[in-house]
Structures are given as structure tokens and as C-alpha cells.
């Protein structure tokens, strides 16, 4: 068992890559690429489940660590490991991968080999971002995650693929230039790319405060674009409306939010506190702005994009509130947002494949034709809105409580408005898509509800929404071991831990 523990993370990184190579080698017949991709993602998911099964709650620091010299000069280590913060995110990526394959099963008809190979490379890149503890390796995976995404958007874009791909790539690539300079500067100062070493050195080292401020800003800027945080969300709507469903499911939020927690606040706690008021303000603006724009969209991909902006801003609020409750809520909300968004995108993808339009007003009255689709969609939407007993509620509640008690009552009240608005646009979307008079579109095609594969994905996702909604204590203790926001004021800590106890 020890041997598995020592190499499990390498396996998680290599299996999708090996799958990608295999997909490229087999002939494109009998849906072979699809099956190999599915098998690879299932194996990878199985491997990720090994992590929570053998994760020790009592052990501090990183677990399943591997730390080997990769490049001598400058000293770059292949250093990977998980803690409570990244553990469930890794599992989430593993979970969404088979869902993505199933979502693309029939949607992708041409160049399947290339699609699945790139999809699997994207998996490796995402795992790499969550697992890396060496800044250079982290940066490598961070950049690598852009390439398959951009190519696939260009290849399979719905109307204007290349343009959206270019926008996505440049929006996320250019901010990573200052990030790399900041990383190199840290190396020039300390001689190390290692996360834990740097953390200690920054906390105790005699760095010039001014320069450290700029380095922290460079980190924050790169992450904020990736999340995205208002007003840096320019790429989001186009990407969502062009990206293949499987990739839209995996792209938003997770990488940027995780990086903020780990590498921005984790490395620069002092500086993060300086930025926190600004970020809280932007997050609240983002919540309302995204929700308002979602209300007026005519295209359901764009509606989902602005809904995502609103929800991701809420998570950002939880992160930069710098409270323990807020952090737990934020990590929990990243997980539940991933699950819910995965289900919603899968369902919208089914609709789009069948009716070939994303214009909301073309739909209507589908509920009688496609009862299963409608039911799953309603459940997932309710989870997204934050109905108690479903998973969206827990995270939102924790974030808002953290904000209310630890940051400012005013911001929390304004942010709550966003939750109400999210109910408005999601319920209205349901009404327009599934209820009301039967549209010409609904009668034009034979009713053909979800097929077995899609059901096999949606049932577990829906069950997960429910379980995550009623039994958050299955996840929260693990998350709590990895989330230690920097102490702001002693008073805040006590209040937030009181809330903990009360809950």
C-alpha cells in the first residue's frame, strides 16, 4: 500500500496522458476512441478516489508527496502532493472527466481521435495544476491547460470558434507573463521554486516590501483573469458559447480559485490582506453584475456564462473575506459548483445537439416531451440556486455567514441579493425552456429523451447533489485541514469559530 501511496499522484498525472497516446494510435472505428477515453477517465477517477480513502486527517502538511529533482539548474523539483484544500478538487476533476466523455459521445462526430486525445491532455494539465507544489511545475501545467482548450474551441466552435479561442488564449496567456516574471524574481531572491520553502522564506525573509507587493499583484492578476473576477471576465461568455460541452464543464473557476487560495493568499498573506477589500468589492459587484446580465440573455450558453460569473464571484468573496468559515464555504462551493455546472452543461448540450439552437425563445413546452431531461434540469437548477438540502446551499450559506460576521454586514446583504437574482434567472430559464406552450421546435423533432450513458452520469451527479446537501460533514473536516486563512484580527477568528460551533 505504501508503494501505491508513493506513486499515486504520478499515476494520476500519467494515466490520462497514456490514454491520449493510445487514442491517437487506434483507428477511428467502432467508436474506439470514445471507449478508450471513457476507460481512461474511469481508471483515473478510480485512482483519484484512492486519495480520500487513504488521506489522514491528523497528519499536517501535504500527503502522498513526491519530491524529486527534475532539472538541476535552476533547481526545479517534480514536487507534488495534496492537502485538504486540493484533495477534493482532484477528485472533482476525476469525476467530471467521464461525464465530459459521455457528454461528447454523440456530439463529437469528426476527428474524434484528436478531440479525445486533447481532452485527456487537458485532464493531465488540470490535475497538474492542483497537485504541483513547485512553482515552475505549477506554471507549466497552468500554461499547458490553455493549449488543448484553445485548439478544441477553434476546432469545434459552434459559430465563431477561432475568434473565441484566440480571445480565451490571449486573455489567460498574457497575464501569466507577469506571473512568470514574479516567479523568476522569487527564485532570483531565494534560489527556490518550492512552495513550502518559499512560504517560510516569505514569512520570515527580509524581502523589500514594495517588490513583494508587485509580485503578489502579478500573481493575483493572473488568477483573477482565470477565475474570472469582474471586470476581467471578457473571455468568459464567448468561451462558454463556443466551447464543446465537455470542456465548458471543466474550464471555469476551479483553477483560478484554487490558485488564489494556494498561491496568492498562501504565499503572500500580508499582501493579500492589502488586496482583500478591493477583491471583496469586485466580487460583490461581480455577483450582481453577472446575475443582472444573466437575466437578460437570449442564448442559454451566455446565460450560463454570466450565471457562472455571479457564482464564481460569490466564491471569490468567500476567499477574500479571509475567514475560516468563508474559506470552507468557498472550497465546498467550488466542488458543488463543479458538480452542478457539470450536470447543467450536460443537459443543455443534449438540448443543443437535438435542436441545434441555443436561443432560449425557440424552446418551450419540452417538459412533456422530455420528462427526464426536465426533471434533472430542475433539480440541478435548484441546487445551483441554493435550495436547502441541496449542495449549493451549504457553500453559499457558509460564505455569506463568513462575510456577515467576519467582513461586513453590508457586503453580505448585497451579496445575498445575488442569490435571489440567481433564483430569478434560473427559474425563468426553466419556465422558458420546459414549460409554457409547446413550441414549434418541440413538435418538430421526435421526442427522444436521455439515453443510458447520460443517465448513468446524471444519476450519480444528482445523488451527489443531494448527499452534499444533507451530509456536508463528509467533506468539511477534510477541507478544514487544508484551509488556514491568515489571521486578520484575533476577534474575527473567534467569531467565526463560534459560528463553527453553533453549526
Amino acid at each position: 500500500m505504501n508503494e501505491i501511496n508513493n506513486s499515486i499522484l504520478t499515476l494520476i498525472l500519467l494515466v490520462p496522458l497514456a490514454g491520449a497516446v493510445l487514442v491517437m494510435l487506434v483507428p477511428d472505428r467502432f467508436k474506439l476512441p470514445n471507449w478508450i477515453a471513457l476507460l481512461t477517465t474511469l481508471i483515473t477517477f478510480g485512482l483519484t478516489l484512492h486519495l480520500p480513502a487513504h488521506f489522514s486527517l491528523t497528519q499536517a502538511g501535504f500527503q502522498f508527496e513526491i519530491n524529486r529533482l527534475w532539472i538541476e539548474r535552476p533547481a526545479i523539483f517534480y514536487h507534488v502532493g495534496v492537502d485538504g484544500l486540493s484533495l477534493w478538487l482532484v477528485v472533482l476533476v476525476g469525476l467530471l472527466a467521464p461525464a465530459g466523455v459521455v457528454a461528447s459521445w454523440n456530439a463529437i462526430q469528426s476527428r474524434r481521435k484528436l478531440f479525445f486525445a486533447l481532452f485527456l491532455i487537458q485532464q493531465t494539465a488540470m490535475f497538474g495544476v492542483f497537485l504541483s507544489l513547485d512553482l515552475m511545475v505549477y506554471y507549466g501545467f497552468w500554461e499547458l491547460s490553455l493549449v488543448p482548450m484553445a485548439i478544441l474551441i477553434a476546432m469545434y466552435g459552434r459559430k465563431n470558434g477561432p475568434k473565441a479561442a484566440l480571445k480565451f488564449f490571449l486573455f489567460t496567456f498574457i497575464p501569466s507573463a507577469p506571473l512568470l516574471v514574479a516567479i523568476l524574481w522569487l527564485y532570483a531572491q531565494t534560489g527556490s521554486f518550492d512552495f513550502t520553502t518559499l512560504q517560510i522564506l516569505i514569512a520570515h525573509g527580509n524581502f523589500p516590501a514594495g517588490a513583494l507587493f508587485w509580485a503578489a499583484l502579478a500573481f493575483l492578476f493572473a488568477f483573477a483573469v482565470k477565475v474570472p473576477v469582474f471586470p476581467l471576465h471578457g473571455w468568459l461568455a464567448d468561451t462558454f458559447s463556443e466551447a464543446p460541452v465537455a470542456l465548458a464543464m471543466v474550464v471555469a473557476g476551479k483553477l483560478g480559485l484554487y490558485s488564489m487560495l494556494r498561491f496568492h493568499i498562501g504565499l503572500f498573506p500580508e499582501q493579500a490582506r492589502l488586496f482583500a477589500p478591493l477583491m471583496v468589492g469586485l466580487a460583490v459587484v461581480g455577483i450582481l453584475y453577472g446575475a443582472c446580465l444573466a437575466l437578460v440573455q437570449r442564448d442559454f450558453w451566455r446565460l450560463m456564462a454570466f450565471a457562472a460569473l455571479s457564482h464564481l464571484s460569490l466564491i471569490t468573496l468567500g476567499i477574500y473575506g479571509l475567514t475560516l468559515t468563508g474559506w470552507e464555504g468557498a472550497v465546498y462551493q467550488i466542488l458543488s459548483h463543479g458538480v452542478v455546472d457539470g450536470a447543467l452543461f450536460l443537459l443543455l448540450g443534449v438540448l443543443y445537439d437535438r435542436y441545434a439552437t441555443s436561443q432560449i425563445n425557440a424552446y418551450g413546452g419540452l417538459a412533456t416531451k422530455l420528462p427526464r431531461t426536465a426533471t434533472f434540469f430542475v433539480i440541478a437548477s435548484l441546487a445551483m440556486i441554493g435550495l436547502p438540502m441541496l449542495n449549493g446551499f451549504i457553500g453559499e450559506f457558509l460564505i455569506l455567514v463568513g462575510t456577515f460576521t467576519g467582513v461586513s454586514k453590508g457586503w453580505a446583504i448585497v451579496a445575498t441579493l445575488g442569490v435571489i437574482l440567481s433564483a430569478a434567472y434560473m427559474l425563468w430559464l426553466i419556465q422558458r425552456l420546459f414549460f409554457g406552450p409547446e413550441s414549434a421546435l418541440a413538435t418538430s423533432k421526435l421526442p427522444e429523451d436521455l439515453h443510458v450513458g447520460q443517465l448513468a452520469v446524471l444519476w450519480p451527479l444528482t445523488a451527489l447533489m443531494l448527499v452534499m446537501g444533507v451530509a456536508p460533514m463528509l467533506w468539511l473536516p477534510t477541507i478544514a485541514t487544508g484551509t488556514h486563512p491568515p489571521p486578520v484580527h484575533v476577534q474575527t477568528i473567534t467569531t467565526s469559530s463560534q459560528v463553527e460551533v453553533q453549526r
Binding site: 484528436l114 506554471y139 507549466g140 477561432p162 523568476l184 531572491q189 524581502f207
Partner: protein
């Protein structure tokens, strides 16, 4: 006669130019065979002869590692880890270029034998240039390599662009070499010697400092022309556009590698004491090259012109390494040369295969849907573009990484920031090509109008060439340790011992902001 015999028996000196000897003999052999073969016979086997000779020369340079480090022929030529590194690099590039030409040159093209011979003779000059420690030999080597490339540039005589390219390249190139020669003369005037070590020893105490500065400036003009750095870059797009693509694969990399080796030798070995003068100069040239190259490339419609401007930008990234101190700068520059060569040869090989020797598909829009027409070529093109953008796990990333790390280590943080923002800018045009390649061809109904491929034959040679480029790009991106070690030992041999500057390891005071 006796003198010649004595000379031949002086083994050690001969071993010091072993790769050059092998290459010369190969070239002569190819020329002779070309002349003796009956007119009707295929000349293609001559290309294999040339490729074999180049491989031998490559082994010859590796053998030179076993020689004691030092100079031969009365201190005119040096063998060291540095020269071996560049010899191997140049021989590798030439080999790939030969293999590429073997399959892509039209069967009936005239003077095929000469074509191969010229490539090999050019390689002699380039190899000699990296080893020369005597300014006159430097000049001769530069001329040998330049003349071969001038002729090769104009090889498509039947087109208007071919001769135009050759004449432009020749006239401007001659000017540049004249500048170099004038610079050499001035330095000779100031120090009384043309031997690089001697000059390095004499420069700090020489009386005519203004002569030395002027000589350095003129030499830099000549060398920066060869690496196509701004403001000496105007020839690049025209020449690249007019020359046959396999030749561009060669001349955008090998002569540049040699010229960068010379630049490293001149600034780090010959004039290390003048660092306060040349470092700001190269800083400005680096920033200008990146910015001008990238901005101009954004507007290009022709793939080869776009890649020409991108080559200018890459010269800028490489020059950023010269802001690095001592060994770190030299090692970074050498590594970048290798990484750049691997990916650039690769992308020009793919471009050759896509558009053919006669370039039926010169424009970016002609590549629309390439990945649907030919998945392998499309994927390879995207792969090399990804490396040129500088995405991790490819050679392009580590090249840029080391170059800017050296710059940051040398205190030039702004140079690194400008450089990395520039690489964001560059991503825009590389991606334009990559995304057009990946675009579904049925958009805008243009699929039907896509011209049929004048596809060159895909034989063993070209497969080997592309495979070597892919492999080199990946190796430099994933396991760069060995190459890095080679560049570092090369950097140590180039550095004069007293000028060694220790690299900070632990926390130190921050480098001063520029």
C-alpha cells in the same frame, strides 16, 4: 612540400578541425560525383552522401570532446565544450535540412548536386566560425558560410522572388561583413593583434579606448545583421519569402547559431571589460527586436513572412540572455539557440510539406482546415507553433525561461517583463495560424475552393527530418538536463577565469532596479 608534410603529420592540429575537414571532403566529393555522373542520372543519392558526411562530422565533433581543451594552428582555432556544442548543433541542423531537401526538391530540379554541396560548404564556414579565436579567421569563416547561403537563397531562379532575395541578401550581407571587417581593423589598430585572447588581455590597458569602442560597435553591426536583430533586420522577410523553404529552414537557424556563438565570444570573451557599454546596447536591441518583430508579424498574411518576423522577435528573446551575468547568460543563450533551432527547423519542414517547393499555398488562410485535410501535418504544425509560443514541456518554453531567468538574475527585470509581454503578443499571431489550421473547413464555404495539394513526396528522409525536430523540441522541453549541462560546461570554457562572477544561491540583497 616538406612543410606540407610536416603540417599533415601534426595530428593534434588536424583533429581540432576534424568536422570541418570531413565536411569539406564531403562537399568536394558531392561536387565531383555530380560532375562525373552522366546527365540523365538522378542526383538524389548525392543528398544521401552529403547527409552521411554530415553525420560523420557530427561524430567528429563529439570526438573532439576527448581532445585536451586548447587552440591549434598557432592559436587561431579552439576546441572546447563550447565549440563542440555549437558544432553538434550546426551539424544537426544541416543534417535535418539535407534530409528535408532530399524529398522535397523536385526530381527534375537543376543543379541538385550543387545544392547539397553548397549546404555542406556552408556548414564548414559555420562550424569554423564557432571555433575561430582569431578575428581574421572569423571573417573568412563568416564569408564561407555567407556565400553559400547567398547562392542557396536564389535557388528558385524561375521565380521573380528568388533572384531578388539572393541579390538583397548578398548586397546587404556584404555591407554587413564590411562593417565587421572595419571593426576588426580598428581593434587591430588599437591593440596590435587579432587574436581574441590577446585582445582581451590588452583591451583594459590599451590607450586608444575610442578606437576599441568604435571597433566593437562596427563588429556588433556586422554580427547583429547576421542574427537579424532590429535595426538590421530589413532583409529578413524578403529573403525568407523568396528562398526555397528547405533553405529557409537552414538559414534561419544554422548561420544564426554560428553568429550567436561569435557574438558570445566577442562580448563575453574578447570584451568582458566593456560590459557596461555593450550590455545596455544589447538591451536596447533586444527590446527593439522583440517588439518590432512581433508587431510586424501580427500584420502578415504570408506564412513565411510571418515566420521571418517571428525569427526577428526570437533573436530579441535570445539577446535578452546577454543581460545575464557570466556563465548563466552564456548558457541561457546557447540553450535558446538550440531550442530555437529545433522548433524553427521543424516548423519550416512542416511548411515545406504543406505548401511544397513551389509554394502553392503561401498565405495563412490557405492553411484553413489543414488538420481536417491532413491530421498529422496539422497536429505537427500546431505542435511547433505551441513551442514557438513558449508553452511548457516544449523546448521553446525552456529557451525563453532560461533567457529571461538569466536577465532577471542579471538585474534586468524590465527586460524580462517586456519580453514576456511580447511573448503574449506573439501568441496572437502564432495562434492565428494554429487556429486557422484547426478550423473546420466547411466554414464560409471555403472548403471547396481550397486548392488541391501540390504535396511533396513523403519519404523516409523527410520523416526522419521531422521526427528529429519533434524529438529535439520535446527533449529540450521535458528533459533538458543534459543539454543544459553541455551549455554550462561550454559557458565555463568561454569565460575567462578571473571574470567569473558567482551566482547568488541564498537570499541576497535584491538586484538594483533598472
Amino acid at each position: 612540400m616538406i612543410f606540407v608534410l610536416h603540417f599533415l603529420l601534426n595530428h593534434e592540429d588536424l583533429f581540432r578541425i576534424l568536422p570541418e575537414i570531413i565536411l569539406t571532403l564531403t562537399g568536394v566529393l558531392v561536387m565531383l560525383l555530380d560532375a562525373t555522373l552522366p546527365p540523365g542520372w538522378a542526383r538524389r543519392p548525392l543528398g544521401w552522401v552529403a547527409a552521411f558526411g554530415t553525420t560523420l562530422a557530427l561524430w567528429g565533433s563529439l570526438f573532439q570532446l576527448s581532445l585536451p581543451e586548447g587552440t591549434g594552428f598557432s592559436g587561431t582555432i579552439e576546441t572546447s565544450a563550447f565549440t563542440v556544442f555549437f558544432h553538434v548543433l550546426i551539424c544537426g541542423i544541416v543534417l535535418v535540412a539535407l534530409l528535408l531537401s532530399l524529398d522535397t526538391l523536385p526530381e527534375k530540379s537543376h543543379h541538385q548536386g550543387e545544392f547539397y554541396a553548397l549546404i555542406v560548404f556552408g556548414a564548414v564556414g559555420m562550424c569554423l566560425l564557432t571555433g575561430a579565436v582569431e578575428l581574421l579567421l572569423v571573417f573568412i569563416a563568416l564569408e564561407i558560410s555567407s556565400i553559400a547561403t547567398y547562392i542557396l537563397a536564389g535557388y528558385r531562379k524561375h521565380t521573380a522572388r528568388g533572384p531578388e532575395a539572393a541579390i538583397k541578401y548578398f548586397l546587404l550581407g556584404s555591407f554587413a561583413t564590411a562593417f565587421l571587417l572595419y571593426g576588426i581593423a580598428m581593434i587591430f589598430g588599437a591593440t596590435g593583434t587579432t587574436q581574441i585572447y590577446e585582445i582581451a588581455r590588452l583591451v583594459p590597458t590599451a590607450q586608444n579606448q575610442s578606437f576599441i569602442l568604435a571597433g566593437m560597435g562596427l563588429m556588433l553591426v556586422g554580427i547583429l545583421f547576421k542574427v537579424s536583430a532590429v535595426p538590421f533586420h530589413v532583409w529578413t522577410p524578403d529573403v525568407y519569402e523568396g528562398s526555397p523553404t528547405p533553405v529557409v529552414a537552414l538559414m534561419s537557424t544554422a548561420p544564426k547559431a554560428a553568429a550567436f556563438a561569435l557574438l558570445l565570444r566577442v562580448v563575453y570573451e574578447m570584451l568582458p571589460t566593456l560590459r557596461p557599454v555593450w550590455q545596455p546596447l544589447l538591451w536596447v536591441v533586444a527590446v527593439l527586436s522583440m517588439t518590432v518583430g512581433n508587431l510586424a508579424a501580427l500584420r502578415q498574411q504570408n506564412v513565411k513572412r510571418m515566420l521571418a518576423y517571428s525569427a526577428i522577435a526570437h533573436a530579441g528573446y535570445l539577446l535578452a540572455a546577454f543581460a545575464g551575468l557570466g556563465t548563466s547568460g552564456i548558457a541561457a543563450a546557447s540553450f535558446y539557440t538550440a531550442a530555437y533551432a529545433a522548433m524553427n527547423v521543424g516548423i519550416f519542414a512542416v511548411v515545406t510539406l504543406v505548401s511544397g517547393y513551389d509554394e502553392k499555398l503561401p498565405l495563412i488562410n490557405d492553411y484553413r482546415g489543414l488538420i481536417y485535410r491532413s491530421p498529422l501535418l496539422g497536429s505537427l504544425l500546431i505542435f511547433f507553433l505551441v513551442s514557438l509560443i513558449g508553452i511548457p514541456f516544449t523546448g521553446g518554453f525552456f529557451g525563453k525561461f532560461y533567457s529571461f531567468a538569466a536577465a532577471v538574475g542579471g538585474g534586468a527585470i524590465w527586460l524580462a517583463i517586456i519580453g514576456l509581454l511580447n511573448s503574449g503578443l506573439a501568441a496572437a499571431y502564432y495562434l492565428r495560424l494554429a487556429l486557422v489550421t484547426a478550423q473546420r473547413p466547411d466554414f464560409d464555404g471555403e472548403a471547396k475552393s481550397t486548392p488541391p495539394q501540390g504535396s511533396p513526396r513523403v519519404g523516409a528522409a523527410v520523416i526522419a527530418a521531422v521526427a528529429m525536430a519533434v524529438l529535439a523540441t520535446l527533449v529540450l522541453g521535458i528533459i533538458p538536463n543534459d543539454v543544459l549541462r553541455a551549455t554550462e560546461s561550454g559557458a565555463h570554457t568561454l569565460q575567462a577565469p578571473p571574470a567569473e562572477i558567482s551566482v547568488p544561491v541564498n537570499i541576497v540583497e535584491p538586484p538594483s532596479q533598472p
